[in-house]
Amino acid sequence: MINFSYTIWILLLPFLMFLLLGLAGHKYFPKLSGLIGTGGLAVITVLSYITAFKYFFTSEKVEGAYQKITAFNITWLQLTDKLHIDLGVLLDPISVMMLVMITTVSLMVHIYSLGYMKGEKGFERFFAFLSLFSFSMLGLVLATNIFQMYIFWELVGVSSFLLIGFYYQKPSAVRASKKAFIVTRFADLGFLIGILILSFNTRTFDFITLTDPAGAAIAQGGGIAFMGLSVMTWSMIFVFMGGVGKSAMFPFHIWLPDAMEGPTPVSALIHAATMVVAGVYLVARMFPIYAFSAPAALDVVAYVGAFSSLFAAVIACTQTDIKRVLAYSTMSQIGYMMLALGVSGYGGHAGLGYMASMFHLFTHAMFKALLFLGAGAIIHAVHTNYMTEMGGLRKYLPITHMTFLIACLTIAGIPPLSGFFSKDEILAAAFHNNKLLFAVEYAVAGLTAFYMFRLYFSIFWGKDTHYHHTPHEAPATMTIPLIVLAIGSVFTGLIPFNELVTSDGKVFETELELIVAIPSVLIGLLGIGIAFVMYRKESEIPDKLAATFKYGYKWAYNKFYMDELYLFVTNKIIFRYISEPVAWFDRHIVDGTMNAIASVTQNVSFRIRGFQSGQLQKYAFVFVTGAIMLAILFIYLWK
């Protein structure tokens, strides 16, 4: 057995860095903060690579399966005799895979930020928050039990809140951060309820016990029924609700586009590559339970994923803010991953979807981070977010252009780039399980290619826009991460995920299914082609099309009015029809009753106090008459 206990430092280091930068950074080394943060993360990255190498290539397999290793565990809080919250490090294929992915992207984003955030006010604060985020995200993926995951889940949420609201003087950023936090918090409520129900039935939080396919948790779970579904199904649906919120699936997706108010590196790291896939990771983590005890919940996962991906892809075709296009694209791609999990089975080739989902998660992190960082470089150069104000940038930003093109081709699923492989596995998994979902995903693949190249052509080709300042290529700190990630995007498709990350830890054989692959490449090319015709040069076609599908376009452009719906619910219903009446009720009914009691007492005493007039003679008169009355009473009447 290899000793993995050093992995605790992967968690502790970023936390210590957060404390250091957060408490002392501002005063003592505001300029050095970036280097310290990046250096610290580089150490963590190295540690993660070592861990991954040791785990995948030197650790012992039992019956050909990778084992789940608890590298470190302490009891943080003893709740009941059986339930206790532990903090620790759990190593298994998906957590190690996530570890590599997160640290890689995070390191790139750190380096990129050194250039991008240079000279910003709050430079050290930015890196402190990034460290906090790294800490919480790593804690999330390394969690040994579901409650630890929930803890870090919340911490991730708050670091996201802090980073979205980084430009805290910008009202839109403040609104966006608030929205992100509250929407995800609402989803987390579902997660927490799910945990409560789950733990009540299984009496454990521990992942290894929970997800053991032969274990007691899975065996006993399905029994009790509530409203037609088993309790286990309910709890897993609730848990999935947390994932829906964090991964911005429909209907909790509304925070993600607004979250683009944060600095672009943050969007790349948190809202594209790492945090938003936490929901996928959560489902993957609990997968055996879904697969064995709650297949109905798994269907929910699949359909929510499929619908979200289609929904987001349609909206993405109409948006003009490049970061928002990317945000919807992220949502769409995560929909893919969810769907893949939803159609997957457990073990062997049935677990193709599971593997594909993880594979896509990994490749997506690379190319989506690349896209965002590229977008950041573009915005850095032209100081606008809107593609309508861009055009012809290929001349000014050659490196960005090339890397962006690579990323677009990757996401469009053009072989032999990584996106092709992972997306193909997903489509194959869907094809084998559910033809309807396959059809949806197939359409989304085309849409994806179209809107990505719409973006690409609008920015780099299209009309020659006149800029106030001649745009110039970003500094090396920004271009190097782009290049590294581009290389990653190209080659990560070659990683044999079927040997490394599978649902049961065992290797299974996959082959390229041409019956799926060829049409998917074709539809990708079709999408690119349409985009080429419409946006390569300035043309009338987009406007005409928009006019033709007037209502459809308008709805999609306005994101199907989801924001307005939410605003209606929060402002009108919660604020106007619940809170204010509650406040009124409290002031006037409850407090009014108390005040009424008081004022009745007071009125009565006002009446009574007339006796206490201060007139000596009145007192004497009362005294005398009283004495006489008493005398009469006792002498004559009492007897």
């Binding site: 106090r609 206490q612 007039s613 201060g614 007139q615 000596l616 003679q617 004497a620 008169f621 005398v624």
Partner: protein
């Protein structure tokens, strides 16, 4: 010396005097006249004490001494009361009892 006068006469006399004093106490507005009414009341009580002592317990002296002390206390009381009245007068420029009603509520 008191033969032929029943004790009841003294008592009735004292009663009338007492209630006259009470009446004065209740109706007069001037603090000094109220004080005088109090003197009437005290005197009527003294008469009672002495009458009881003389008629019912002639061989004892309690009644007489009690009256004696009452007179002494009355003297003290008047002295203090008048001091207070003068003080009130200084403060309120009136000794009308209806105007001196700060001690209400």
């Amino acid at each position: 010396m008191n033969t032929g006068i029943p004790i009841q006469y003294f008592l009735i006399l004292a009663t009338i005097m007492f209630f006259t004093g009470v009446y004065g106490f209740l109706t007069r507005r001037n603090l000094i006249t109220i004080l005088m009414s109090v003197e009437l009341i005290l005197n009527s009580v003294n008469i009672n004490f002495l009458a009881f002592n003389r008629y019912l317990y002639p061989n004892k002296l309690e009644g007489m001494f009690f009256s004696l002390f009452v007179i002494a206390v009355a003297a003290a009381e008047v002295a203090v009361a008048i001091a207070i009245i003068i003080n009130i007068y200084r403060r309120f420029t009136t000794i009308n009892v209806e105007d001196v009603n700060e001690m209400k509520f």
